[in-house]
């Protein structure tokens, strides 16, 4: 059984400091939902509101339609996987996994049987009698998941569970987590500051900054159609140009970015507040959207100079300069993209690949 | 208070919270605060036979404190004897404290910075072991050591340093040596803990920049270890000035320690209010002295640890 969660105007304030600013969202049962944001933006605080360690100062947390105010963490149908895992160091692996059953008064034999089943599920069969300290990082990770599953929760909350692992293992665990979620069919709420994790695993993502939810959507929407400057600059690589809106007919905008001919950019329906002629704006173009112009007079064409190149095998990451602004450019290494370092190079991009947004805070690199 | 209890219950549950609150309040009120207040109250009363306590004669008075300052005479002469004993006690305690600091600092430093692993643990154990031995016995050992036919006198006379036994007891040498011995551990451990957490690189950096060993200690180690020094000195000073066993065993017959006065008013003197007043005087003077010194060295009580 899975339950839907809704946050209704949730605020969390620590004295003067606002850690969560009017969070408003619904998470469907069985969904893999991620909160993505830089460290310190209030993700953990929000998760603690759901798990019951933190009461919102204002607003409501509802699980399965029921208001959770005053319901302690031990009475909520959630299980939390802590950032540091919080495995009990003095208990064996099996005793860790069986802890939720132990406190519910389940007898020893049943506990052990259930722990063994869960060890099977996380691919650590027969390791129940080991000490926690004898496990590797990835194994600890899986034990923490098994322990949370032993609670038989409706919702599993995961607070940056992979951040302590090395890169290889992290990538492996992504797939594994997603597989476990599919298998058990629970709602997963996943916190991370790593966009790669969020994009690969999630059904939907909420991007947060300074306590505010900036955008909610699936990975594609967030990457292709960010609605704020923060999201555009935080998720994936992006080039940003300062510009002024010349005209906006609802479908296409003309934008002057000081690079010769004004640019033509499509106006996406979910693109945030509409921009009117005369407004200042940020124009975002992703490195992979920029291309070497094949012929003169193409749309959105401008002149640049070569700065440096970083060679990655299949990809070439090139930095070009356009009238004082550095631009990143990613090209596939297919032998067709020769650049002469000593002569100006013309670049262009398709109108649907440029995104004009109201100027706002940019994520620091 | 209600908020505090609510918070504890939320974290620990009802049963555990009640235990916590009960245990702490029992300790703070029944064992610490109320007895001290009762003693304070008692020190402002006359020494009455039990039957008259609570009667019309049982009124507040400054008599016991007046006695400490002026003695039995109704005249306004000073009670030089008791005041003198207080001063002598404090002075001796300061002396013992400083002596302990001087002898313990090098040990703590060597222990903290040059010993590692099993060797350090063994040295620490060797420091602790003598302190599992009864305080009385430690004083007794010094009595033997410094007696007229004790090892010190025998050795001194054997080497021809002096030719008649020196009465170390009457000279209070035995007492100071015994007191300094008694609280060494309480000086070493705060020092050791403080110095141990000092990054070795800081010392090496100072050396590198041309500081000699004296400057390294004066400019780097000692300022860093200040909280440790303060808590060690506070402990040793308070315990020395409040010591009773060592002065009783090692003190010369005519040289009293201030705690012995308190003891006398209580036991042989049978005057509890006066004993209380003397105890209050000791307590207040000691605390005032410690706070004053802490203020001078800019450290807070919260930094005191064992």
């Amino acid at each position: 059984m899975t339950k839907e969660i809704s946050l209704e105007h949730v605020w969390v304030e620590f004295g003067e400091f606002t850690a969560v600013h009017k969070a408003n969202l619904n998470i469907a049962g069985g969904e893999f939902f991620s909160f993505l944001g830089p460290s310190g933006c209030g993700k953990t605080t929000l998760l603690r509101c759901i798990s019951g360690f933190q009461e919102p100062t204002r607003g409501k947390v509802k699980i399965g339609g029921q208001d959770m105010r005053g319901v302690g963490p031990n009475k909520r149908p959630t299980a939390l996987i802590f950032q540091n895992l919080a495995l009990f160091p003095l208990r064996s692996v099996a005793d860790n996994i069986a802890f939720p059953l132990e406190v519910r008064g389940v007898d020893k034999k049943t506990r052990r049987k259930r722990a063994d089943e869960l060890l099977e599920l996380i691919a650590l069969p027969g390791q129940g009698d080991k000490k926690v300290s004898e496990l590797s990082g990835g194994q600890k990770q899986r034990v923490a998941i098994a322990r949370a599953l032993a609670v038989e929760p409706d919702i599993l909350l995961l607070d940056e569970p992979l951040s302590a692992l090395d890169l290889k293992l992290r990538q492996h665990m992504r797939t594994e987590l997603r597989a476990i979620q599919k298998q058990v069919g629970l709602t997963f709420i996943y916190i991370t500051h790593d966009q790669g994790e969020a994009l690969t695993m999630s059904d939907r993502i909420a991007v947060m900054n300074k306590g505010k939810i900036e955008q909610i959507g699936d990975g594609k929407a967030i990457y292709d159609h960010p609605t704020t400057s923060f999201v555009a600059s935080f998720v994936g690589e992006n080039n940003v140009l300062d510009g002024t809106v010349l005209s906006n007919d609802g479908k296409v905008m003309k934008i002057d970015a000081g690079l010769g001919t004004p640019f033509t950019v499509e106006n996406h329906p979910a693109g945030g507040p509409a921009l009117a002629p005369g407004d200042a704006c940020h124009l975002f173009v992703r490195p992979e959207a920029l291309r070497l112009s094949k012929d003169d007079g193409a749309i959105n064409q401008f002149e640049t100079n070569f700065i440096t190149e970083e060679f990655e095998g299949n990809m070439r990451h090139i930095v070009m300069n356009a009238s004082g602004t550095d631009l990143k450019l990613s090209l596939i290494n297919d032998g067709t993209n020769a650049i002469d370092a000593n002569t100006p190079v013309k670049l262009d991009f398709a109108p649907e690949m440029g995104i004009a947004l109201k100027p706002g805070e940019l994520a620091s690199a | 208070m209600r908020d505090l209890f609510y918070d504890l219950v939320r974290r620990n549950g009802m049963a555990v919270s009640i235990y916590l609150m009960l245990a702490v309040s029992l300790w703070v009120f029944i064992l610490i605060i109320l007895p001290q207040l009762t003693m304070l109250d008692y020190s402002f009363r006359f020494n009455l036979p039990p039957a008259k306590i609570g009667g019309p004669e049982d009124v507040y008075t400054l008599e016991q404190y007046r006695y400490f300052f002026q003695g039995s005479g109704a005249s306004d002469g000073l009670n030089t004897l008791d005041i003198g004993i207080l001063f002598k006690t404090l002075l001796a305690a300061v002396f013992v404290t400083v002596f302990d600091l001087i002898i313990c600092y090098p040990v703590a430093f060597v222990l903290a910075k040059s010993s590692t692993g099993a060797k350090a643990r063994l040295l620490v154990l060797a420091l602790i072991v003598p302190y599992w031995i009864n305080e009385i016995l430690r004083a007794f050992a010094f009595r033997i050591l410094f007696g007229a036919t004790g090892v010190i006198n025998e050795t001194g006379m054997g080497l021809g340093l002096w030719d008649t036994p020196i009465d170390f007891i009457r000279q209070d040498v035995a007492l100071y040596a015994g007191l300094a011995y008694a609280y060494i551990l309480l000086m070493i451990f705060p020092l050791y803990n403080a110095i141990e957490s000092l990054d070795r690189n800081q010392i090496e950096a100072a050396r590198d920049m041309g500081a000699n060993w004296w400057q390294v200690h004066a400019k780097v180690v000692i300022p860093y270890a200040k909280p440790g020094i303060a808590s060690g000195m506070t402990m040793v000073f308070m315990l020395t000035s409040g010591a009773l066993a060592a002065p009783q065993i090692l003190g010369g017959p005519s040289n009293l320690w201030f705690t012995q006065l308190v003891y006398q008013w209580f036991n042989s003197g049978g005057n509890w209010p006066r004993g209380s007043a003397y105890a209050m005087v000791l307590l207040i003077v000691c605390i005032a002295l410690v706070l004053l010194v802490m203020r001078l060295f800019k450290v807070s009580i919260g930094e005191i640890k064992q």
Partner: protein
């Protein structure tokens, strides 16, 4: 090989001197326990004897004091440990301001002179007793109860410090994890926090028990008409030095050393490196097991006890006594010859010292001559010599 520079030797030399200061007095005291001289001393050496231990075994006062001390120690542990634990947990859970205030109150009993604590405890319970019109046999006036209360006042603070240093390393997310897993707050306390604190509870118990056993300053007030091991010892020391006190020290030092050795063996045995060494060598594993060490020490102790019970130094002491008698005879003769001169020849004094009783200490500043020449005194020491 390179010579160490002389300055590099200074720390070692200093440490040696320091530990000599630390252990010297104790070693000398231990030696005096085996000298048959009735005054605790190293020289002149009379006879090796174990009789002072025998004298202890028949010292009813000391034994009953010891009984009281053990009872009080158990009482103190039972009260002080829960209080210290509660105080440490409370400190770890309150905000920084309240924490600082509470810490100052909690730490105060360590700094307040023991005399003051003893006094205030005595007065406080006396007042309460009077308030309830309690009879004199009630616990308000009972030395054992008062001493437990008085000692707990500051021993709870010691144990709090032990708990505090452990609880600072506690990861509070463990408690949160337990709650999240459905444990009630009480279950989280019992199943997560308490097991984590268990080692500290062990060491705090030992510390509290020892602190209680050795306390004097507070106890001497609160014990009223009863007595403890320490107060009996103190009055023994004050009313006459006697090598049987050294014998007490020997026993305590032996117990301490045995404890320390077993503790250290245990530590070494459970280190990772050693586990590696003994993994393949069962004989070594058994030989270095702390249990084995304890058994060996136990056997040695038993042997020592048997030796003490059976050692007979009466022949030697009788001989020494005879020599003294002869010397005394000689002196008396000299005295009768040299009349009317003073009889006490200073240079021979140290040799006669053994029977000198107290040495001009606080309690009985006796002129040398008197009891040296008293026949009763000789008689007593002869009897004790058996």
């Amino acid at each position: 090989m390179r010579m160490k520079s002389p300055t590099a030797l200074i720390p070692g030399l200093y440490l040696t001197l320091f530990f000599a200061y630390l252990f010297g007095p104790l070693i000398i005291m231990v030696i005096t326990a085996f000298n048959s001289s009735t005054f605790p001393r190293v020289s002149p050496w009379e006879c090796f004897t174990t009789d002072w231990f025998g004298k202890l075994a028949s010292d009813d006062k000391l034994l009953s004091g010891l009984g009281n001390s053990l009872l009080i120690g158990v009482g103190v542990v039972c009260v002080a440990i829960p209080i210290g634990l509660a105080a440490a947990i409370t400190l770890s859970q309150v905000g920084p301001k309240l924490r600082a205030a509470l810490y100052t109150i909690f730490i105060a009993p360590i700094l307040v002179p023991g005399v003051v604590i003893g006094l205030s405890t005595l007065i406080f319970w006396d007042r309460i007793g009077t308030l309830f019109n309690a009879p004199y046999e009630s616990f308000f006036y009972d030395g054992t109860f008062l001493t437990i209360f008085g000692q707990v006042t500051f021993i709870a603070a010691y144990s709090m410090l032990v708990f505090l240093s452990r609880i600072q390393r506690f990861d509070t997310t463990l408690t949160e994890a337990a709650l999240d897993m459905g444990a009630t707050p009480t279950q989280a306390f019992v199943k997560v926090l308490l097991p984590f604190m268990a080692p500290a509870i062990g060491s705090a118990t030992v510390l509290a028990f020892l602190a209680s056993l050795e306390n004097y300053n507070t106890t001497v007030f609160t014990i009223v008409s009863s007595s403890t091991f320490t107060t009996v010892l103190s009055s023994k020391v004050r009313y006459g030095l006697d090598p049987s006190i050294s014998a007490v020290a020997v026993i305590i030092i032996a117990i301490t050393l045995i404890g320390a050795i077993i503790y250290e063996c245990r530590n070494r045995y459970y280190t990772k490196g050693w586990a590696h060494v003994i993994a393949e060598r069962p004989a070594l594993k058994i030989a270095t097991h702390p249990g084995t060490v304890a058994v060996i020490l136990g056997v040695l102790t038993l042997a020592a006890v048997l030796f003490i019970q059976n050692h007979d130094s009466s022949v030697c002491t009788a001989q020494v006594l005879e020599e003294k008698r002869a010397l005394q005879q000689q002196l008396m003769e000299q005295q009768s010859i040299n009349t009317p001169q003073q009889a006490v020849p200073a240079p021979t004094m140290p040799n006669l010292g053994p029977l000198g009783g107290d040495e001009g200490g606080a309690s009985a500043p006796s002129p040398f001559g008197n009891n040296i020449f008293s026949p009763e005194n000789l008689g007593t020491s002869a009897r004790e010599g058996n």
